[in-house]
């Protein structure tokens, strides 16, 4: 079985989904349900913190794409943060940077939603650490 988990937190107005483990054909439905639940609670400003991701397959890429338009239509976005280089490689190979915004950390991703300043986010350090000041 693939090890994968999603945990939720907030950073300013953004919902942070911290992903860890392998996001593959087996675990993608769990991630999709988590994103759908997030949207269903009115949280459309979403940061996907990928710092704990060890693998992403096409099924995982597809989930990001499936939820992008609904998030944007609800006035939000999905920003992908803190991906390890070798996981980013898969996104990059298929051109995802043309469509998605990527950020070096969850804090910087949350700052793209305009709620916390870049300075504060840089100071915030660890991703998904709960409510920003």
């Amino acid at each position: 079985m693939s090890h994968f988990s999603v945990s939720f937190s907030r950073l300013g107005a953004a919902r942070v989904l911290a992903l860890s483990g392998d996001l593959d054909a087996h675990t993608a439905p769990e991630f999709e349900a988590a994103l759908a639940a997030c949207l269903a609670e009115g949280g459309a400003q979403i940061v996907a913190d990928g710092s704990g991701l060890t693998y992403v397959s096409s099924a995982g890429l597809g989930v990001f794409m499936a939820m992008l338009e609904p998030a944007r239509a609800a006035g939000g976005d999905i920003v992908i943060a803190a991906l390890p280089e070798r996981v980013f490689e898969t996104f990059d190979l298929l051109g995802f940077p043309e469509v998605f915004r990527f950020a070096p950390s969850a804090a910087e991703a949350a700052a793209l939603f305009g709620d916390i300043s870049a300075g504060e986010t840089a100071a915030a350090g660890a991703p998904a650490a709960g409510e920003a000041p």
Binding site: D24, A25, H26, Y55, S57, S58, G62, V63, T90, L94
Partner: protein, 155 residues
């Protein structure tokens, strides 16, 4: 070795090739992580560079996921048999399963630009299979699909 030349003798060992191992998977996506670890181990055994190994692992994962989700005629009872063979050129993984003929090397699929522009949530698996490894071969014989994925030692 072209896909056409190879289809005359599916599964045949090339001269000088060593079988590194074989994994049999049930038709469930829960099996995929075990498969990835096996291919990783084969790549380690034959000293494939890290980036080439990672890409071969992913291409194998995508091919097996497609077999489970779209290809196997009987996912509940059938098996996917995956083996690794190593020769001077590199590492070739064979993915075999019983199901209707589906050739991932020629199946009609939108290109990466079109599919991205269309914001499609599906269709990235075939693209990855085609782009991640040095060579993709295919054969169909007596109801069994065989997809061959080759990573070269030299990248």
């Amino acid at each position: 070795m072209s896909a056409r030349a190879a289809s005359a003798r599916p599964g045949a060992l090339r001269v000088g090739a060593t079988v590194l191992g074989t994994v049999r998977l049930a038709g469930r996506t829960a099996e995929l992580s075990r498969l990835r670890r096996a291919v990783e181990a084969w790549a380690g055994t034959c000293g494939l560079p890290e980036a080439a190994a990672r890409r071969l692992v992913q291409a194998t994962d995508e091919a097996a996921a497609n077999a489970i989700e779209h290809g196997m005629s009987d996912p509940a009872h059938g098996r996917i048999v995956v083996s690794g063979r190593h020769d001077a050129e590199g590492l070739t993984v064979h993915v075999r399963y019983r199901g209707p003929r589906f050739d991932p090397t020629t199946a009609p699929a939108p290109g990466p630009a079109e599919i991205l522009r269309a914001r499609a949530p599906h269709g990235y698996g075939l693209l990855l299979i085609r782009r991640l490894v040095a060579q993709v071969g295919y054969a169909y014989r007596r109801g069994v699909n065989e997809v061959r994925l080759t990573a070269r030692r030299d990248g």
